[in-house]
């Protein structure tokens, strides 16, 4: 029949050929962008910080809208994560923005486990994506990506150094998400203190080995601005959604008796830098880093944990999918067995208890019967006694009436006698 000869000539080192005319594939980036615009984008931000550092306000300020109606309730015992998704549109770009807030972070007396729910949340998003990717019939193309692309870590403006809670949390998060540290409510610190604070923070981060997100400097068009911004980290921001009239413009600002802090004034705070870096220059890079670095790391660890290894060329492929399924089945089987066992034990215990209860009931009945009998006996005795007493009473009455009769008779007879006697006495 026909046989194939697959000859790859100049495969890897493909030749570079010059074009002698306009072909037209320079429209490829446009086609790609078009497709993305039709599809829409999604971006997920996680805000980690203690209560009252202005996380919600900063989100409102960054995206120029009022996101939530009511402030969050802070009455849960542990750290909860509240996530909200919004659809924003600017010119022809549609963005599905998800903002996740940590409620109650740093409020506990014992903060050892505060970071745990955050790490679990981030892992859960990775897990969901991994599950979708491992499915047989999958729709990755239209999957709503919930993985966290950027984590804004709010540092309290103490002016001294990082709190140990901050260090511990950031250390736990740095391999899972892109961390951008920011100094919150920075209008509480003076300029000189701020400079010292920033230096202290960066040196602490470095000495503790915390990897924060570095803006990429490999693309010439943005390398310069990114490297300048890298040196300004952590950004000292002020958030505000209220507007104040300055000159003849309305600007977002915070008004104090001693002056007004303008949010978008670069001399006052780093808000513009943050917005520039986060949204206008590096949003795509943040998404890419999340997918190619953090997610891959998670996937690698998870799969290795489940016992997979990269197969060598001759062995069976797809051990991933099927062994995953097989392991899951195994796990389910075990679970089921355990469940059965528990159920059996439960049934057993119920039976025993029932028997016990029946015994007790029987005893009670017996006791009741006995008591009843006793009671009846007593009653009978009493009645007998009563009867005897009644009889006696009757006899007594009879005797009494008889005696009275006799007495009356005697009286009548003796009455005259007594009269006589009385008369005699009188005389």
């Amino acid at each position: 029949m026909a046989s194939t000869e697959i000859a790859r000539q100049a495969g890897e080192g493909a030749r570079a050929v010059p074009l002698s005319g306009h072909v037209g594939f320079d429209s490829m980036p446009d086609q790609l962008v078009n497709k993305s615009v039709n599809h829409g984008f999604c971006f997920n931000i996680l805000c980690v910080g203690e209560t009252g550092l202005g996380k919600s306000t900063l989100m409102d300020t960054l995206f120029n809208t009022k996101f939530e109606g009511e402030p969050t309730q802070h009455n849960q015992p542990g750290v909860t994560l509240k996530s909200n998704t919004y659809e924003l549109q600017e010119s022809n770009v549609r963005l599905k923005l998800t903002v996740v807030n940590t409620v109650g972070f740093g409020d506990q007396i014992n903060k050892e486990d505060s970071y745990k729910s955050i790490v679990e949340f981030i892992d859960a998003q990775f897990e969901a994506y991994l599950q979708e990717e491992l499915k047989i019939k999958r729709t990755l193309h239209s999957y709503h990506d919930t993985r966290i692309h950027a984590c804004l870590y709010f540092i309290a403006p103490t002016g001294h150094s990082l709190k140990s809670l901050d260090l511990v949390t950031m250390k736990k998060l740095d391999s899972k998400v892109n961390i951008i540290p920011i100094v919150a409510k920075s209008d509480a610190i003076s300029k000189s203190e701020l400079a010292k604070f920033k230096i202290k923070i960066t040196s602490e981060l470095v000495s503790n080995g915390v990897q924060i997100y570095q803006f990429p400097t490999d693309d010439e068009s943005v390398a310069e601005i990114n490297s300048t911004m890298n040196s300004h980290l952590p950004f000292a921001v002020v958030g505000s959604t209220e507007e104040v009239k300055i000159g003849n413009k309305m600007v977002k600002a915070r008004q104090y008796p001693w002056g007004t802090v303008q949010v978008e004034n670069e001399n006052h705070c780093d808000f513009v830098k943050l917005r520039e870096m986060l949204i206008r220059v590096n949003m795509e890079d943040l998404r890419e880093q999340t997918h190619t670095r953090h997610y891959e790391l998670y996937r690698r660890c998870k799969l290795e944990e489940m016992g997979f290894k990269d197969t060598d060329p001759d062995s069976k492929p797809f051990s991933l999918q099927e062994t995953y399924e097989a392991k899951r089945n195994e796990f389910m089987g075990e679970l089921q067995k355990k469940e059965e066992e528990m159920r059996q034990m439960f049934v057993q215990r119920v039976k025993e208890k029932e028997a016990e209860l029946k015994e007790a009931e029987k005893e009670l009945h017996e006791k009741f019967d006995r008591l009843k009998k006793l009671h009846q006996d007593e009653k009978k005795k009493l009645e007998d006694k009563k009867k005897t007493l009644d009889d006696e009473l009757n006899t007594f009455k009879q005797k009494k009436t008889a005696a009275e009769l006799l007495h009356n008779q005697a009286q009548q007879a003796g009455g005259s006698t007594t009269l006589k006697r009385d008369k005699e006495r009188k005389n």
Partner: protein, 372 residues
């Protein structure tokens, strides 16, 4: 024409709206894992007191979300693109020439191999050549896959098999890399994006070989049929031939690119319908330039005139080039990766699952229950 407006990304700063509009929002609380959506909160559309001054709109109400388009573009330019085209047809139909014409450079196998061998191979071979081409800063790795020997034997039974095997092998290679634990950042894409099938210009109807091949391969790859050497047909013969071909394709249930079932929305359908009424494109290829009316044009010079390749009154090469390269290239790649490849993957994973299920004694319905 077919060309979509390439000028997509307008400078958004000039047309800044009053901040982004919030269309809808839904909130959810999470202890640590599953997120339960609440009822829809009514959107709070922001209305800042944006002063619409006469000059450029003030920055303060502009967030900059649409800058992501520019970021994507930068990333794409840096990464470059990949395209793999396969050409299938009998020898002598001008496949290599057409490739050279399409990409305006010597990309075909014949140009690379400086051999005088013009022998028709006894069996079908699959030969692929890669080139790096660049235009206006956009880099592309183009791979042309040639299939010499196709349809040239006396007995052509199953001549599509080696081609199908090749296409499936590429899917397999991609799948292997994708399920690796340590996998590359960018999985090298060698999957065949588009297969151009050359129909000899008989003028009558499709041959059984054509029908058979296209029927089988349209299920695994995007097929673009073209009428080769169309300068041997007059315009009426060409129209008749095209109509006949379209009828036969419809009668045999062959869905060539652009496939009807993958039209996404009404706009797509409109554009694609126009294309569907024109396929198969009647093309003429040439890599030689001649002087016509004072201009140097690609063409074929004959005694009775010069056929201009890029003149749409002469042949439909320009339409083919626009479809393949200028407007639908991304769409072709998307259909390959999200539909054809996924179908292959589903098939492959299912057949493995059943194999393992029987091996492990796990009843099949247990496994089936786990896949969505």
């Amino acid at each position: 024409m077919l060309e979509q407006d390439g000028e997509v990304v307008k400078d958004a700063r000039r047309a800044a709206s009053i901040g982004p509009e919030v269309f809808s929002s839904y909130s959810s609380s999470a202890m640590s894992e599953a997120v339960v959506p609440d009822t829809m909160v009514s959107p709070a559309v922001s209305s800042l007191y944006g002063e619409k001054t006469g000059g450029p709109a003030v920055d303060f109400s502009y967030v900059g979300i649409d800058a992501i388009l520019e970021q994507m573009r930068r990333k794409a330019m840096k990464q470059g693109f990949e395209l793999n085209i396969m050409v299938v047809g009998q020898s002598g139909l001008g496949k290599s020439t057409l490739m050279n014409t399409l990409f305006k450079s010597k990309v075909s196998r014949k140009s690379v191999m400086a051999t005088a061998q013009e022998k028709i191979p006894k069996t079908i071979e699959i030969k692929s050549i890669s080139h790096d081409i660049e235009e206006k800063g956009v880099r592309m790795k183009l791979t042309v896959i040639d299939t010499p020997g196709f349809g040239d034997q006396i007995n052509n039974e199953n001549c599509w098999q080696p081609i199908m095997k090749f296409i499936n092998d590429q899917y397999e290679a991609y799948l292997q890399e994708e399920i690796n634990i340590n996998r590359k950042k960018r999985i090298p894409d060698s999957r065949v994006h588009c297969c151009i099938y050359f129909i000899p210009p008989t003028g009558h109807c499709l041959r059984p070989l054509d029908v058979e091949f296209m029927r089988r391969l349209s299920k695994v790859v995007n097929i673009v049929p073209v009428i080769a050497k169309a300068d041997t047909l007059t315009l009426e013969e060409r129209d008749f031939f095209k109509k006949k071909i379209r009828e036969e394709l419809r009668a045999n249930g062959i869905d060539v690119y652009p496939q009807k079932e993958f039209d996404e929305d009404a706009e797509d359908r409109m554009i694609n319908e126009k294309i569907r009424e024109m396929i198969p494109f009647a093309v003429v290829g040439s890599d030689q330039e001649y002087q016509v009316n004072g201009r140097r044009l690609l063409g074929r010079k004959t005694k009775w005139g010069t056929i201009e390749v890029e003149n749409i009154a002469h042949c439909e090469f320009a339409y083919l080039r626009d479809l393949l390269i200028r407007t639908h290239m991304q769409n072709i790649k998307d259909i390959t990766s999200s539909i054809h490849y996924e179908m292959y993957r589903v098939r492959r994973l299912n057949e493995n699952n059943t194999a393992v299920a029987h091996a492990n004694g796990i009843p099949e319905h247990h496994l089936a229950a786990h896949e969505m």
